[in-house]
């Protein structure tokens, strides 16, 4: 997230006349969000989760990697282990806290990178039109010809396990849809009368993009990116679940689900806990982006 805001900050800082967005619009967005109970609750849950995983080293009661054969698969509440222990005797609560760091990072990083690259390419294609548009959009079509899960699995399967490879694979999956959405939003804005008027009064390409196009397309593109976060988290944990992505003994929700599969007969409740974390996060992100979409009045 910080990557996006610093990028915008730098843009407006370098070009003194700030981006023109009527102040009433954002006031309206904030007012609509503050009246939307579901969105507020989801935002609050996500904020609490974020704080917990950020401060995991301070909050976690045990070392997430330190196991012991003597206390394997102990039930909830056993000797100070609030959520029990996993198949190697490691504290579940601590592992869930630390695991969230990887799951969140692996879920959000690909969307952020895809937002920057795909958004950039899409806006370029939409604004330039003609041959540039043709080239970018036809290349996008090729990646659209793969089901997303398959593409992610195939690329990271070929590259091998690892955090970087998983992020790379997921980024490649999300760039094409980002390009398509940014291109269609930009194309529709580019053809509006006021852009034509600005062009007629002699505004150059840079000025057109900066003042007239960007402020009007970034919102919808950003909202679209937020809808991808939920999918991205499920896919990222799925890759770790398949043994791609995060490697043991690190804690990551998808990987934990996989290693706990052997425990479904002895500790079924414990075995499903990492999945509950993924599910909660992904539902909240989905509802939050729905709320943002209607508050910002974005269609498409």
């Amino acid at each position: 997230m910080s990557v996006i805001s610093s990028q915008e900050g730098r843009l407006s800082g370098r070009n003194p006349p700030p981006v023109v967005v009527s102040p009433g619009y954002w006031k309206g967005v904030v007012r609509r969000v503050s009246r939307d109970r579901v969105t507020l609750i989801c935002g609050a849950i996500l904020l609490v989760m974020l704080l917990i995983i950020l401060f995991a080293p301070l909050l976690a009661p045990f070392d997430p990697l330190q196991g012991s054969t003597g206390r394997r698969l102990k039930p909830v509440g056993w000797q100070g282990h609030l959520l029990g222990t996993d198949e190697l005797g490691r504290d579940m609560l601590s592992r869930l806290m630390y695991g969230g760091r990887y799951s969140w990072f692996l879920g959000i990083a690909p969307v952020v990178v895809a937002f920057l690259i795909g958004g950039g390419l899409g806006i370029t294609a939409g604004f330039a039109g003609g041959k540039v548009n043709m080239l970018i959009m036809r290349a996008t079509d090729v990646f659209y010809a793969f089901p997303s899960v398959l593409l992610a699995v195939a690329i990271s399967g070929a590259l091998g396990p690892g955090i970087f490879n998983a992020i790379l694979a997921l980024t490649l999956v999300f760039i094409p849809p980002m390009i398509r959405v940014s291109e269609s939003v930009t194309t529709s804005v580019r053809n509006l009368d006021y852009v034509e008027a600005a062009r007629a009064t002699g505004a150059g390409s840079r000025r057109l993009v900066r003042v007239h196009v960007l402020p009007n397309v970034l919102g919808p593109i950003f909202v679209y990116a937020t809808t991808l976060v939920s999918v991205s988290m499920i896919l990222a944990s799925g890759l770790s679940f398949l043994g791609l992505g995060v490697k043991p003994p690190e804690a990551e929700w998808g990987l934990m689900l996989n290693t706990l599969r052997t425990a479904i007969y002895t500790q079924p409740l414990l075995a499903t806990l990492p999945g509950v974390c993924i599910f909660t996060t992904s539902v909240c992100f989905n509802l939050l982006s729905d709320g943002l979409r209607s508050a910002m009045d974005v269609r498409a």
Binding site: D141, V142, F143, A145, F146, P147, S148, V149, L150, V153, A154, I155, G157, A158, L159, G160, S230, I234, S237, G238, F241, L242, G243, L244, G254, L257, R261, I264, Y265, P268, A271, T272, P274, G275, V276, I278, F279, S282, V283, F285, N286, L287, D290
Partner: protein, 314 residues
Amino acid sequence: MLLYIVRRVAYAIPIALLVSLVCFMLVHIAPGDPIDSIVPPDTPKEAVEQVRREYGLDKPLPVQFAVWLSHVVQGDLGRSIASRRPIAGDLMLASGKTFVLAVTAATIGFSLGVALGSLAAFFQGTWIDRLCVGFAVAGVSVPHYWLGMVMVIIFSVLLAALPAMGAGPSDWVWDWVHIRFLILPAITLSVIPAGLITRTVRGTVIEILNQDFITTLRGKGIRRSGLLLHVVKNAAPTVLAVMGLQFGYLMGGSILVESVFSWPGTGMMLNNAIFRRDIPVIQGATLVLAMFFVLLNLIVDLVQTAIDPRMRRT
């Protein structure tokens, strides 16, 4: 219309070629010498050199691609490193199993989605609508590999009612002995399309109900069943298109569910290949599934255009 078909098919050909190029590159993005991804590690040196020549790996990349493609077109996807068997044959068997799973999941998911989506749209704003929308959000947000585990825990471990893994003895037959194995994975896999179709149907139907011609029809005093007919006719193209793509996602994206339930389809095959770093199998399975998806996209486009000429792309 004929011209449109020809143009659409002609457009699919370069896409298919580029898709196979992406699959071809999978071997080359794997770390190390691509030859190591193709032959088992203990192969004698002369044999390695022979394979290198046979696949043209001593030639420049474009030539290699041409050689590889000529093999693929003849149905030769190479051999698995692990089992040393031809990939194409294994893949055929596995695709059949995945197809059974995907068709069942699609049937469940699509019927549920259409029912819930139309309910939500006709009762827009009521508690029925909120319930259906809630289900849809849960459906698209659930990590289905986790849902699969939960299903196994409930129905196999606690109730001991249904088997937790496999696809039954020997070949697939549509009898109870085999269908028992299909129930849990199919329901698990159907949740995502059910959620998505609910959303799509609800959105499409609401949009139609807000159009002028509906107001006119209502003003003329049309019966409910008559109204429904108009809605179905107008919603069908959009909904069918989404369903077509979703079926493709089910075929190509069943890897997680298949590995949870050890369902012996293409997903399981991919999963094993990833585990053994059997790159030719990853490449072959990806290629076949992606080609199926390209073909499906083409069919969806043509069918959609046939039933609704307004959709015709230029």
